[in-house]
Assembly symmetry: C2
Homo-oligomer: 230 residues x 2
DNA sequence: ATTTTTCGTGTATTTTTTACACAAAAAGTG
DNA sequence: CACTTTTTGTGTAAAAAATACACGAAAAAT
């Protein structure tokens, strides 16, 4: 029989963490999904996540699940919402604390013990398990706000990137279009980019300058309470 | 004996909601605290909150606790963070989903069955129970961000208010100072204010125009994805 | 009547945003 | 090799927004 040895005077909900993992392929935003191997929603795609242990904070739990299910370690994660509809899980009362992670997509491919994990472009995400469709919408909404206060590119782009990639990223997240020249001008004015001497090696057409983020300048700027305007 | 009849195969944390209630007295931001009547932290001030029931969402739970502990009904609340340090409550593992409420302070005074509730100006908040000091800091941080996307004055100011009150509110939340003339100009350009024919009745010195928010214009503007800039 | 406080208002200057076009680099084509 | 195609770097003029700033009028207190 399954022994139920943890007893309480009042009913307690289960608590899970789920993690929406964002990556950027240079053109489009992507999310990493895992295929569920068990009921409910067996065979459906979902965000990696699972039950919280009693001796870990939600952040620790989210990072652990990330590692276990996708092989990702030390990702940048940020909590964005707790989902608590009493019937969001058909089995029992489960509250999930949702995080989003920003990862460099090219550092994730391969090396994962989770073959069940797969990247999907945002506009090609299949119907998800549980209320994960809603979770994704909320994650996007939060990311869109976040980008005004933090240069999320730090986490999503490779060390070296072109101005076009950076612009593509902002356009993908905010779903807008910028004039190429004005975007460059504005971005450089923030003074948080290093223009490198190198250019793109496997050049597509004409080779472009590479940039990297200047963490020191960014932190300095942030101290003064600035905002990235777009 | 205290019967423990709710049993699970794995340990479950307790889940509570807590609510940081912001009000504005025309000059300063205030928060509503309740004095704890029981251990732990008996006699310390804390945010109203309590255990979540199994058949209610966190939002419902937060609103219920608000009503029970302060008499407030139908407040505007917004979830902002789940606090989950394994030792944040000395008794047992408790995860709290924290909300902030924005209320019209003048509609709250009196009428409360909770005499234990009291308003404190932000810079006069006493040391709080549990990790509520941290919760307050996070709530402020979130409110400060929120104000760039939503006119929080809708909820914090009375129906009719003066431009000075509105300016004081923005200054209190953002902790900055604006030029009176420039603030007025900018605010009116958003076109979400109705200038009323009335002026302040119990006039302090010279009477000032009263304004109200124009919800329709605001919603229109919001649809287009605008941002309040300050 | 005088003083004190708060209110409403406008303009000139600076800064930021926006719109916009051409020449050079590389690759692909035949 | 010439030619075409795609992508890159770059600057300027016009419009809009942000800023700095001062005085006269209304009301209350004395």
């Amino acid at each position: 029989m399954d022994e139920k040895k943890y007893c309480y005077k009042y009913p307690h909900p289960s608590v899970t963490t789920d993690c929406v993992i964002f990556g950027f392929d240079g053109t489009r935003l992507q999310v990493l999904l895992v295929k569920r191997g068990i009921e409910p929603y067996k065979g459906r795609w979902a965000f990696p996540g699972g039950f919280l242990k009693m001796d870990e904070s939600c952040e620790e739990g989210a990072l652990r699940e990330l590692r276990e299910e996708t092989g990702l370690t030390g990702a940048y994660i940020e909590q964005f919402h707790a989902f608590s509809d009493p019937h969001r899980d058909p089995r029992e009362r489960v509250i999930t604390i949702a995080y989003y992670a920003l990862v460099k997509i090219q550092e994730v491919q391969g090396g994962d013990d989770a073959e069940r994990a797969e990247w999907f472009a945002l506009d090609e995400v299949p119907p998800l398990a549980f209320d994960h469709d809603r979770i994704l919408r909320e994650a996007m909404k939060r990311l869109r706000e976040r980008i005004h206060f933090e240069p999320v590119g730090f986490e999503l782009l490779p060390e070296k990137f072109t101005m076009k990639q950076l612009q593509n990223l902002y356009e993908a997240i905010l779903d807008v279009h910028f004039d190429r020249r004005n975007f460059t001008k504005k971005m450089l004015h923030f003074n948080i980019l290093n223009q490198l001497d190198e250019t793109t090696r496997p050049t597509p057409k004409r080779e472009a300058f590479l940039y990297s983020f200047n963490v020191e300048s960014y932190n300095e700027l942030k101290q003064k309470g600035f905002r990235l305007e777009f």
